[in-house]
Point group: C2
Chain length 342, copies 2
């Protein structure tokens, strides 16, 4: 039984704007965390963190800081970096989690490195072959769908895709509060006979499982929100995710450009600003603030390298929520041998 | 040597709004075709075509019509439909092409059926293992990229992807007028070592080819227009295409909904209508009006089932352009055994 308050470690050196965005996000989360009795620990290079906090006018003394000499960059090859940079902020954070000093880790760093470090040091939940990274996709239904895998596993066997479905189902149930999540397989047609042999076999596994499997969905269905959990291999998921993100960014830039054409349009767009802002917010993945790695024995939330302070704040709150909902224990229960039918 | 004028057959029964959109599109193209001395023949069910033409007030007597008793629907299983519906508008159109009565076929019908019928009846260009379907992707660079395959081939070997690259290169050169098209492989990272073994092997093939291969690009790069030809397997391409289309449609609907919230916003959006319309047009795949099947011995343009009359008009003009540029002969030349290095 844990006697100390819940504790979250934030790797402040991982993101593209580290440690500034991480510090700003941490302080945005602070009041709510204090109210809930949750402790937040920063992991990063002491001098750089203090210097940045000072520059931003943040009361850094209010948050404990654990020094880490190194940082893993986005360019680092994940497995190499995890092995060689044992003093990186990420490695230190994961180590604290492994030793039970903290209960969750939040990072905006190199996703591959986070996955590797967490899998190696925290281990996998029994029954799960491959931990997975999910993302939340905004839909027309005012609640997001879980899409997985989005990059952890590019060569998937039916068994792996089936496990992703199970993990996604637990996540949607526990974290999104959907009682009986509808699970679907991403394919290029609705019929059972569509797609590669891997997908056809996965269809069979899902159909005979205890999941609420609604069949195949296509790329065009993702935004319709007809499924709560959509399963695909990491190649397709990652490509879709990056394409979707870039489409939103491109539109935003294009609209901004158009709005500056002349004074008349400047005025019109300015008047519509609140409406357009709301419009873009609905499609902004950042508002969900990252999704846990699923399948490792711990709570590890990984976010986009370009996360805004708000996104990082949301990731911290998401870590706390995952902890409260006992996500790891729920996953362990779902993968108990007796419960797996396939 | 051909002595008659160039002749294009339009399957008017294929699309979701057939034959209305097809007829409207045909008459939109008519003046320009006449000016260029190109003949257009409609293929469809006589009574339905005449009835629709009358209802729309179109001077149907100005266009020759070849009767076809049946039509292949979107629900038909392609290979079955092509075998069983020998009197379908699509089969009749392709047959006319095979017999040299027409020089190109345009259809908005069941893509799989168009591909099957064209491959069976027209045959493949020597050296090409699998005909492919490409699409044009709008980019930030004011000219589109060619993305292929987008659904004809879901299980691809390196050899097939390599052939797609070659076909895409010819298309970009001849039809988009790009002197030395930049060819890229869609992957989940830039490094040569990324992706599945199939993609790594394809990378090697492309690198040692005579193509202007610029390496891997990711989902986020598609809209940036850094490559003129992007190669992927049909599963990824089809999923991306459908997701992209649905994202544009969703945004449009959402923006329309927001614009109707109150009188104030109605007025503002109404004033911005020309700007927003232009904005959406830039992202509208329909303005390109379909892309030929590449790899068959003939000009066959296949378009979206929901094509607007304008899109169909553009498809007809695209067919004529492909004919003028001798696309089939260019592809034959590119696949001459001596020119293939891999």
């Amino acid at each position: 039984m844990r006697t100390r308050p819940p504790r979250i470690a934030l790797d402040v050196m991982g993101g593209d704007f580290a440690p500034a965005h991480e510090l700003l996000g941490a302080f945005q989360a602070l009041r709510e965390l204090e109210r809930k009795g949750v402790e937040l620990i920063l992991i990063g290079h002491r001098e750089r963190v203090l210097e940045t906090a000072q520059r931003l006018g943040l009361p850094h003394h209010r948050l404990p800081l654990v020094h880490a000499e190194e940082a893993i960059t986005m360019e680092d090859e994940p497995t190499v970096a995890v092995r060689l940079k044992q003093n990186s902020s990420l490695a230190v954070a994961i180590e604290l989690h492994a030793q039970g000093e903290v209960d969750a880790v939040v990072s905006t760093g190199n996703t591959g490195a986070v996955l590797t470090a967490a899998t190696l040091r925290l281990g996998k939940i029994p029954g799960i072959s491959r931990p997975t990274i999910a993302t939340l996709v905004p839909t027309e239904q005012y609640r997001p769908s879980v899409l997985l895998d989005v990059g952890a596993n590019i060569d998937c066997k039916p068994r792996h895709l089936y496990e992703f479905a199970l993990m996604g189902e637990v996540y949607a149930r526990e974290l999104l509060g959907i009682e009986r999540p509808r699970v679907a397989l991403l394919n290029i047609g609705e019929e059972e006979t569509k797609g590669t042999s891997t997908l056809r076999e996965t269809y069979r596994l899902l159909k005979s499982s205890c999941l609420n499997f609604i069949g195949n969905v296509e790329g065009r269905d993702l935004l319709r929100g007809i499924a709560d959990v959509v399963v695909c291999d990491g190649f397709v998921g990652n490509t879709l995710l990056k394409f979707g993100e870039s489409l939103v960014a491109t539109w935003r830039a294009r609209l901004r450009m158009l709005s500056r054409r002349d004074l008349w349009r400047r005025v019109l767009f300015w008047l519509l600003r609140p409406t357009l802002r709301r419009f873009f917010r609905d499609f902004d993945y950042q508002s969900y603030g990252g999704v846990p790695l699923l399948g490792v024995r711990g709570i590890v939330i990984v976010g986009h390298g370009r996360s805004t302070p708000l996104a990082i704040r949301n990731m911290i709150m998401r870590a706390h929520e995952s902890l409260q909902r006992a996500l790891v224990q729920r996953l362990e229960a779902a993968f108990q041998p007796s419960l797996i039918q396939a």
